[in-house]
Symmetry: C2
């Protein structure tokens, strides 16, 4: 949504690649080895032309008459998205939400591993959350720097989100996934994405009858 880098490729295309990847992994679990833009499109409710055009930005991954080799396409997309490695991710906020995030097993195998959990509250600091001991927010700078962490998930109250984000950026974080229901301002070279279930719900209620 923010900095588009000098890359030629539209951000909106990049945003669809993780969806393709997710659908492809699914197909793989179903023991399939080949798919087509049509099959993918049907599952994702995206036109087949769109999928072909998106993929063609990165080279010819498919074969005419045949379709796409699932395993090969997964490899290629993982490389494009740079998730053929495991990124260490810091979680800030050890409330209900931060704890749930820290326990979520869905990050594994998709390129991410939680490395730390931070909180401000003295009651929380030192407590165990899964395999982690909650660290004080005041240690963010040193820990993030020394461990070279580039990605953080923010699960603090809205009031604290901006100041914690500032801390993270100063410590070298380049991508923030913000669960707090508030917009935060970061430098143009820092990536930011939002998760706020209420915005999705409100989007849908527009269309509900009654």
């Amino acid at each position: 949504m923010s900095a588009k880098s000098q890359s030629e490729i539209p951000d909106i295309v990049i945003g669809r690649l993780p969806l393709y990847l997710r659908a492809l992994r699914r197909l793989q679990q179903e023991e399939k080895s080949v798919t087509s833009s049509h099959e993918l499109g049907r599952r994702l409710d995206i036109s087949s032309a769109q999928i072909r055009k998106d993929l063609s930005h990165f080279g010819g991954f498919g074969k005419q008459g045949t379709g796409y080799q699932i395993e090969y396409l997964i490899d290629q997309l993982q490389e494009v998205l740079q998730v053929n490695q495991e990124w260490m991710v810091a979680v800030v906020g050890a409330g209900n939400l931060g704890i749930a995030i820290s326990h979520y097993r869905g990050f594994q195998d998709r390129g991410f591993r939680i490395a730390n959990v931070f909180d401000v509250s003295p009651q929380k600091i030192g407590q165990r959350v899964g395999e982690f001991v909650v660290q004080p927010v005041s240690a963010i700078r040193e820990i993030i720097r020394s461990e070279g962490i580039k990605i953080a998930m923010l699960a603090v109250p809205a009031e604290e989100a901006q100041s914690v984000a500032d801390l993270l950026v100063e410590a070298g974080v380049q991508a923030i996934l913000n669960y707090a229901p508030i917009n935060i301002i970061v430098p143009a070279d820092v990536q930011i994405q939002y998760i706020d279930p209420v915005t999705h719900l409100q989007h849908m209620t527009f269309y509900l009858d009654e």
Copy 2:
């Protein structure tokens, strides 16, 4: 993302209204009473022209030379999005994620209230989650119908998401917020939105250096 209804207004515009609403509530908390498309745009990283054009779809909410009355604009947007009422929402899945969702206090005051928590697992059924007693998935049809619930949040494993969604739709649910990392297929008149943190993270890693 799916059915666009017969409404004239682009879905992409509808999707931005909840963001405007969120920013406006924030401004209100800061004791402001008036704002402008420029101020909103700065906070949301959206151009002021975009905001003016979006809002103009619904009538002239602002005053030239002055800007927008925050309280009035909030009221209007809430009405447009139909969140000037409280929608009852069912949660399906009482694992870590479903429990965290059920405890999340951010739904209050934004138009939603959790009404039920369901799970399949016999160990979960009958247990308390916050103020709720976990109900069996087999009771979805009857409870959703009799309580007239129109919205559900899905927090079950990917494998079960489609079949649970089918149940929900059959019971009369018109909008599903799916937290399972899998695409599901629903009738065109049912709204569906997704929350998958990994897709956001993978979107951002594209831009990270190294």
